[in-house]
């Protein structure tokens, strides 16, 4: 009898110890590779923390991590502060009618697997993207690109169905118009998966363990010179204190605000860390605008009333949000796009934090009563949705809700997953929700184009009286080839949405990097989703 019980126990103990032993021996190598960057004496490695796995790196789909895709793949042209610059294309011509783009490719570029990058590869990639066009509906070019022609080994021609001025901008984006080695295609396609992740970029993916880490090594034969940082490891860590601890202990040495919302890093703790002398904090110029989006098309909602939207705008103390909730890392935003955005330097009437004015606006428009205001028997009650994973959105929501309560507006708060918020935006099932513009590379043209899109801001914009006019102007601005006309159109568009107060700006967000003190060459791109790691190096 005793034996019967003792044996399974022993088996259990032995099995457990064996399992533990196994894992440690199997992982010790990986561990040294994942952790050594911080301590290594060579100082040419970096370990950055990421909240989610890099996921599927297929550059023609959207599941992958953008910072990772950004260092592995490249596009024909690059979007910089000075405008569009050559990248894999050395130069290009646009035909008189704006429909034919001819690119001369950079010669002697190879993919990570040794395949040459040439006109054939471009055609193959573009055709693969186009054959899955329904997934790329957000990017207008995908519906206008009719043909990709190989002219000679290093010349390609793109044919558009109509002139489209942001074409080059869209070609410069992280995805989908970037290049994967032809060898990685499955039956000439990429939509059902790929055989490998060989791009032309400065880094190649050499190791990946789901939900643990991904290793990128320098592409020694990179056409623009081998990068100085030889190895970059993306380590998966939950945002917040685990990441901070890992940083403090040297298990990671680089943290940045990525597209998966690493905004829950305690700013004060970060500042303390920087004061200790081992780290520096670098902040980009404003990249995007965080805002509250109001549903103007929901007729039974108070949010459809412009006066209510304006009153909310006046009731939000944006200075304090920037100072207190973001610890001064973000500045108050007065307009949908900050003035450093192309075409957005427009005179607009500024709406200050002014509770009295907000109350006056409500009174004048018939919202009256003690406690929660009413108009025609309808209560001034709205639902405000925020991303449950963003602690800063939650804090802002709580603050805004409290301020609104003092002027007789009742806001019900709902923290939801980002997918269900996206779903609400699509279906129009919201009064107010938190959102942000897409960032410099996409503003204003992509954000404005999305005003008309069902899955983006259609419900936000379609309820305003000038909706027809707005949509017509948006349609015109996308195809207009004259700079002055474009400026005028953008001015009109921005004025309409500003006056209607459907996009209530909160703060201008920027990308924050925490990096080792001696890391040099930290810079930013025109998008919050990518970082130019290839320009960074350690000073001795």
């Amino acid at each position: 009898m005793v034996k019967k019980q003792v044996v399974p126990f022993l088996v259990l103990v032995v099995a457990a110890l064996w399992l533990a032993g196994c894992s440690s021996s199997a992982n010790s190598e990986k561990e040294s590779s994942a952790n050594s960057a911080a301590s290594s004496s060579a100082r040419d490695e970096l370990v950055y923390a990421t909240a989610k796995d890099i996921n599927d790196m297929n550059p023609h789909l959207y599941a992958g991590s953008m910072p990772a895709q950004g260092i592995v793949y490249e596009s024909l042209v690059e979007n910089t502060a000075e405008g569009i610059k050559p990248l894999l294309a050395e130069s290009w011509d646009i035909s008189e009618d704006g429909k034919i783009y001819t690119f001369r490719l950079r010669p002697n570029v190879t993919f990570h697997d040794g395949e040459p990058f040439n006109a054939e590869a471009v055609k193959l990639n573009f055709d693969a993207v186009q054959s899955n066009a329904s997934k790329h509906a957000w990017i207008k070019l995908s519906s206008m690109l009719t043909e990709t022609k190989v002219i000679d080994e290093y010349t390609v021609q793109l044919e558009l169905s109509e002139p489209y001025y942001p074409a080059l901008l869209e070609l410069s984006m992280t995805r989908p118009y970037v290049f994967l080695s032809p060898k990685d295609f499955i039956d000439g396609e990429t939509k059902d998966g790929v055989n490998g992740y060989n791009g032309t970029g400065p880094y190649k993916l050499t190791d990946h363990k789901t939900d643990q880490f991904a290793v990128f090594e320098a592409n020694e034969s990179y056409w623009n010179g081998a990068p100085k940082l030889k190895k970059i490891t993306a380590k998966v860590l939950p945002a917040g204190e685990t990441t901070f601890l890992a940083l403090q202990k040297g298990e990671v040495d680089f943290v940045f605000t990525d597209d998966r919302g690493a905004d829950s890093i305690d700013v004060e703790a970060m500042n303390k860390l920087a004061e200790s002398g081992d780290f520096q904090i670098v902040r980009s110029e404003p990249m995007n605008t965080k805002m509250i989006v109001a549903n103007s098309s929901k007729k039974d909602s108070p949010a459809a009333d412009a006066a209510v939207r304006q009153a909310i705008w006046h009731s939000i103390d944006r200075e304090t949000i920037g100072e207190a909730i973001f610890n001064g890392t973000e500045s108050a935003a007065d307009t949908l796009f900050s003035s450093n955005v192309n075409y957005a330097n427009v005179e607009l009437q500024k709406r200050d934090y002014d509770l009295e004015l907000a109350e006056k606006l409500l009174e004048e428009n018939g919202w009256v009563g003690e406690g929660i205001r009413e108009k025609d028997g309808r209560k001034l009650t709205m639902n405000l949705y925020y991303d449950v994973n963003s602690s800063s959105q939650k804090a802002q929501a709580e603050m805004i809700q409290n301020a609104a309560k003092n002027i007789g507006i009742q806001l019900e708060l709902f923290g939801e997953e980002s997918t269900s918020i996206a779903n609400r935006r699509t279906t129009g099932d919201y009064d107010l929700l938190f959102n942000q513009t897409w960032g410099l590379a996409y503003d204003p043209q992509s954000t404005i184009a999305s005003f008309t899109s069902d899955s983006a801001y259609r419900h936000t914009t379609s309820g305003i009286p000038e909706a027809e006019e707005l949509y017509r102007k948006i349609g015109e601005v996308m195809v207009s080839s004259d700079e002055e006309t474009r400026k005028a159109l953008y001015q009109d568009i921005l004025t309409i949405v500003h006056d209607e107060a459907v996009f209530i700006p909160l703060t201008n967000g920027s990308v924050t990097i925490v990096a080792p003190k001696d890391l040099q060459g930290i810079s930013f791109k025109q998008t919050q989703f990518e970082l130019p790691f290839e320009q960074m190096s350690f000073s001795r």
Binding site: L17, D53, E251
Partner: protein
Amino acid sequence: MGRYIFKRGLISVPLLLVVSFLTFILNSLSPMDPAEVVLHAQGVPRITDELLEETRLALGLDRPLLVRYWNWFLSCLRLDFGDSYVTGKPVWSLLGPAFLNTLKLTMVSVVAIIILSIALGVLCALREGKLLDKSIRGISFVLTAMPSYLLASLLVLYFSVKLDLLPTNGMDTIGSYILPVTVITISYAGIYFRIVRSSMLSSLNEDYVLYGRACGLPERKITRRILRNSLQVAVSVFCMAIPIILGSTVVVENIFAWPGLGTLSVNSILSRDFPIIQAYVLILAASFVIVNTFSDMVNAWVNPKLREDG
């Protein structure tokens, strides 16, 4: 005997079927269109009606529910749980390694829990009502009252930050086991040691103990006898503990960035990656049913009285 085991085994088959069916329809309970869920999960920036239609066809959502269920069930038997919505990789290639990682954590923890709770349980039972018994139970109440994330945070603050002894995350070295295992052990040992203690105590009151004492058997022999009998309860309890702990390492894994089932399932639930959730629930439920059946069989084998209770 054989008949009982056969009967008990047979019951678990329909059970597994029902469980798997409920798991499968989880997806359909969501108020959101599954095709749309998939596209959101894949991060597609703009979803058109045309794309939705395409996705529905590609997922086979146009076929009747029962047909889809049956196909899914059959392929599950071959460990083919479909492809993840988010990454497009086969579910098993993600779930397998994660399962192994969580299993490692669970096994090490279960061993720690067993050792700790038997030692403490026996100690307390033999010293029932004494100061030692009272203080151990008191401490265990306080420790089990602590939310595990709070406990984890405190341990990390002290051992990793202040003393700089142990890693804070991942499962890279033997050292990385220490903190998560400690948190799990503290949370559960408090419960299990009480079970050991009370089963020891009730054995102490059994007639055979009185009889043995009356007959003048040495106390050592009696204690051994008691231990043996209580261990029997303990074995079945601990058998059950494995799938329970396997399914509730979620918080601990999240804090320590342990690349296991808990992390995977929370991420999948947050991104609505249903194939992974379904496979995960199914695997845990199946292991629960199997362990349950197995422990019933072992008990029936050890204790013939139970067989008619079926």
